[in-house]
Amino acid sequence: MSLVLVFEQVLNGLQFGIMLFLMAAGLTLIFGVMGLINLAHGSLYMVGAFAAAAVAGATGSFVLALLAALAAAAMAGAIVELAVIRRLYDRDHLDQVLATFALILIFSEGTRWIFGSFPLFLDIPTYLRGPVTLPGGIQYPLYRIALIVIGLIVAAGLGLMIARTRIGIQIRAGENDREMIAALGVDISKLYTLVFALGAALAGFAGALVGAIQSVQVGMGEPVLILAFVVIVVGGIGSIKGALVGSLLVGLTDTLGGVFLPRILNAFMDVSSAANIGSSIASMAIYILMGAVLIWRPTGLFGARL
């Protein structure tokens, strides 16, 4: 295999990782600040994609569609937080898992009730269409490069926000000592609603961006949700840096595993069975990665030591 192709596949892995990061960042933030496992995070991703598809269909503008996705997901997040989630902070993980599992059912079928059972259409805007030629002669889709750039901007923005702004200080304080920051006069319930809406908006944003090159349909959130969980567990729950490293690791493992395992096995067997067995192992690769990381470091790569 040529070096160019290897490089291209690495780029694909990075790009996939960055998309995962957008999902995982919100999830890890919500867990870090509120200690909440939110299985319904994938539903917010779906809400974003559907809102974007609906607005893009009506107006034809991709930018408006992205804004709509942010707004719709943030709003759905805030409503869910006010109505359900805030009753769960003091509960154990078991209640949280069940309640957010119930939210998935409501969101999925509710979306199908509103938008029908067929996938919706959402496309890349014309100015981001087509491939560009990178140094070394690699043809790479412009939109995917845009995704990488947007993802990195979001990551940097989140990092800055947490390190530099007042909200960020409150978030960090909330992670460390809830009672103390409440005692200092910060309206903790407002902060929680805000963080939840922010996490939701990130998920919705990811859903809209990804929806343009995938399929906007009911149930699109769950596979990504599980991947995002793998990411934050590998990276260490609650750590934005962990989420970034975890996303890239998972993205690379998944992409490169799928590409190279069949080729490596091809040295020992014929093409068909190598393709078959190789892709079987590749589909388990990220879970093997996660198991290995947890056995080595039980709280993930950047998780707080117990």
Partner: protein, 327 residues
């Protein structure tokens, strides 16, 4: 308020009364539904040992449920095609005999639970939830792509397996088998909870340091609980596959892990009959709500939310009030 004991008796009476009524009024499907409820209850009784007593929130019990199913599927498949399962290191033949299948699925699920448990118990909290989920996902993807036993299509068994002296294809007789096994599992878990092992496990959940100071190894206690728990859920998987005469990778899916957990929480965590009540209610909801509307999952979701938010202690908690706490 009803006492928990009376409620338990009422639930058992339903498990006997409803199938008996269905038998005499020729409603075999009701018996099938009750069998489904009994098997789900058995799976949840297994998980309840880890979750309710040991405090181990496993979101990967579908791994054992599915393994049990595949043990049944694979053994019966080789028996119905007259091919040996393995010729090396010694000859293993397929079988259609339920007791043999049960034993095999108990042992293999226990073995898998031992492996998953020893690795997962290094972590706690959310990490434990996620690593158990990851193991179940591994099994799921493996079963989908493993074409020797049907991959995603799964395996069909044309005739239900045999139990000496019974006609297992008769719904009421197969129900009786499943119900008796459920009773045995309930009995076992009641005995376990009161045994020194169960008390120590319960204490390890509430205050691990104290138990360690007494000189007990909490990790080992939890591992044993996890192994027994996995074995029981595995047995339920073998019965479930026999009920459907079919096994497929969906038995490994994370939604199934979630559902088993849902049974326990609907019924009441840590209560002996919690899983039984939960499974019964879930099967009834699935049956009646499913007929009402195409969008019945919305109602199911709302109902679950209400139970979690306002019905602490599940249905048993609602009916019988709080558990008596011994200090």
């Amino acid at each position: 308020m009803m006492s928990e004991r009376n409620l338990n008796i009422a639930v058992l009476a339903m498990f006997i009364g409803i199938p008996a009524w269905a038998y005499f009024s020729d409603e075999p499907f009701t018996i099938t539904l009750m069998t489904r409820a009994a098997i789900f209850a058995l799976a949840a009784v297994g998980l309840n040992l880890a979750l309710g007593v040991g405090g181990l929130v496993s979101l990967g019990h579908a791994a054992f449920f599915g393994l049990g199913g595949y043990v049944m599927g694979i053994l019966a498949y080789h028996a119905q095609t007259y091919t040996p399962l393995a010729e090396w290191p010694f000859l293993v033949e397929g079988t259609k005999s339920m007791p043999v299948i049960w034993l095999a699925s108990l042992l293999l699920s226990a073995g898998l639970a031992w492996v998953i448990g020893s690795l997962s118990l290094r972590t706690t909290g959310v990490y434990f939830i996620m690593i158990t989920l990851a193991f179940a996902q591994m099994m799921f993807f493996f079963s989908i792509s493993w074409s020797a036993y049907g991959g995603e299509d799964g395996l069909s068994i044309y005739v239900r397996n045999n139990f000496p002296g019974l006609n297992t294809l008769d719904p009421i007789q197969f129900f009786a088998i499943c119900f008796v096994i459920l009773l045995a599992a309930l009995f076992l878990s009641a005995r376990l909870a009161k045994s020194p092992f169960g008390l120590a496990l319960n204490a390890a959940r509430q205050s691990p340091q104290r138990v360690e100071t007494v000189g007990l190894n909490t990790q080992r206690l939890k591992l044993v609980a996890f192994v027994i728990s996995g074995a029981i859920t595995g047995l339920a998987g073998a019965l479930f596959a026999d009920l459907n005469r079919f096994v497929s990778p969906t038995m490994f899916s994370w939604q199934l892990s979630g559902e088993i957990m849902v049974f326990i929480i609907i019924g009441g965590v840590g209560r002996l009959f919690g899983p039984v009540v939960g499974a019964l209610v879930f099967v009834a909801l699935e049956h009646f709500l499913g007929g009402l509307s195409e969008f019945w999952h919305i109602y199911l979701g709302l109902l679950l939310l209400l139970i979690v938010l306002f019905g602490k202690g599940g249905l048993i908690g609602l009916i019988c009030g709080r558990e008596k706490v011994h200090d």
